[in-house]
Symmetry: C2
Subunit: 318 residues, 2 copies
């Protein structure tokens, strides 16, 4: 794990300094993928009993189990994964406007395999680092989106200091994960990723969460604040997740933990998100009653959707 | 711990059946208080380096440490605690309108000592049960407030089914802690405690959290939904917490983890809470810039404030 920790540290440091970090991400992902396939067992775990049934695997090391993995999305063969990863990354340079279904499926599998490789390594070999996979998810997605949008400005927060009118140097919405007792007022940012185009007001906010759980409310609340502060339509939020799964050891099955009623309430009474994206899309969220209220799609669609949103004419253009 | 688990189960079952459960709470609290003082060491841990400095203790069992405890709020002497507990409970029957400072301090210490006794027992002897102390906090406060308001109606959720207009049997805002795969749409309630008076519309919502962390946004978001759905002023939220402390093992000190900028943003741009209450009030939240935006007070004040709010004339009375 020393090598993996160092690779993650390198990727993270470059990302925090706004330096190119895609190569570091690729190195890390390949190291994790390779360690998993050579040092652990990838085996069938059980079913999610939806319609249709969904098969989940796990990585196992002795008695330690990783989180559940969709074997139909995870690219287990190392060489196939490298080839697809490189082809995907290259395709981002050519704009995703003409992406077909196969490009979308590939993008979805690459993001899933990359994030889950890292997450499962930490599940098996360094279980205490609960937040590491989420941090890597953010770093990876920033790198991929930067590759697709070389002219865009990326940041991790939206300055909100002026909103408070009390001379605080607040830079964004503080998150507890970042809060430091000595620097509490300046601590920032739970918006994860903000993408702006030069010469356009507003931008796209991309909260990234491996899984939402009780944090599902955050992106809706932040969208509401942005609507109140900057006017509706200036910022659009796309919530991007990996899955909502939970192992059930007793029954050797997998649950997809969903809160559709809550999501609908938030969408209707807090502030509407532009879209909700999953690599492993929970069946409950794919249902028609949800889609009617909030578009829910594969992460594979995200790239084109972000590209389209940033190219679309704004109200100011007319 | 078997006895303590059984006492908690008894209190919880009565509470869920809306039966009187104060005696069960008292039995549980006294069992925990007594176990802690006879089987663990209550010793000084370190300081929170605020102005003024604040001393924190911990309960210790071998190498296992409890959460930090304010020795000036926690009533460590068993007989003193019983006497004060009983006097406090009796005083709730006489309405808190004429409460003096000493009554407020006593109420604050009783709630703190009760909840922390149970929490520290679970810290030392059953560390896996992360959510148990929070559940007990809810059960205890419901019992105490019921004693004070015998005519009020208590519930755990606000029906919101009609808001969604899609024939779901949703009963409230689902919380992940309660979500059950087999019953997802009917799962309910993160509003914790709702108090209504007969013949009055709306009511008081009391979210109860031992500590807020990244869940601080929830009560503001729920207040926003209630404002949107029922009109502003129908429901008022009072967020009630124990503390915001975190042990720092390395420096043998205690942090008070605060996010004042976030709280101000939420209060201004999501929806305003009526008040924020703590047993161990973090210094940062007591500062003038916070008080200007959102009243922050001791839990000892809560009882009178709830009483006053429910007696106040409504717009409909005029």
């Amino acid at each position: 794990m020393d090598q993996i920790r160092n690779l993650l540290k390198a990727a993270s440091q470059k990302y925090n300094k706004s330096l190119p970090h895609q190569d570091s991400c690729r190195d890390l992902v390949l190291a994790c993928h390779s360690k998993l396939s050579s040092e652990s067992t990838f085996r069938n775990f059980g079913l999610f009993s939806g319609r249709p049934l969904v098969t989940y695997n796990i990585f196992q090391l002795g008695t330690v189990l990783s989180r559940p993995i969709r074997p139909d999305i995870y690219i287990a063969d190392y060489q196939t994964f490298i080839n697809m990863y490189d082809a995907f990354e290259e395709s981002l340079g050519n704009k995703p406007l003409l992406w077909q279904d196969e490009n979308i499926t590939r993008a979805n599998s690459i993001v899933y395999t990359s994030v889950m490789s890292v997450a499962c390594c930490y599940d098996l070999w360094q279980r205490g680092s609960r937040k590491t996979p989420g941090t890597f998810f953010e770093i990876l997605m920033a790198g991929l989106l930067q590759k697709m949008l070389p002219r865009a400005q990326f940041s991790k927060h939206i300055p909100l200091a002026s909103l408070l009118n009390d001379n605080e140097t607040l830079e964004g919405v503080e998150t507890v994960k970042n809060v430091d007792q000595d620097n509490e007022e300046g601590a920032s940012v739970s918006t994860d990723l903000v993408i702006r185009m030069p010469s356009r007001p507003g931008g796209i906010v991309i909260p990234l969460k491996i899984t939402t759980r009780e944090r599902i409310v955050q992106p809706f609340a932040h969208q509401r604040i942005l609507d109140s502060a900057f006017g509706q339509g200036q910022y659009q939020s796309l919530l991007v997740c990996i899955s909502e799964t939970q192992l059930d050891d007793k029954t050797q099955s997998v649950k997809q933990v969903c809160v559709p009623g809550t999501v609908k309430l938030f969408q209707k009474y807090l502030a509407p998100l532009q879209g909700l994206y999953y690599c492993d899309l929970p069946q409950r969220y794919a249902a028609a009653d949800m889609q009617k209220i909030l578009p829910v799609r594969l992460v594979g669609h995200l790239f084109k959707d972000v590209y389209d949103l940033l190219q679309a004419p704004t109200a100011n253009d007319s």
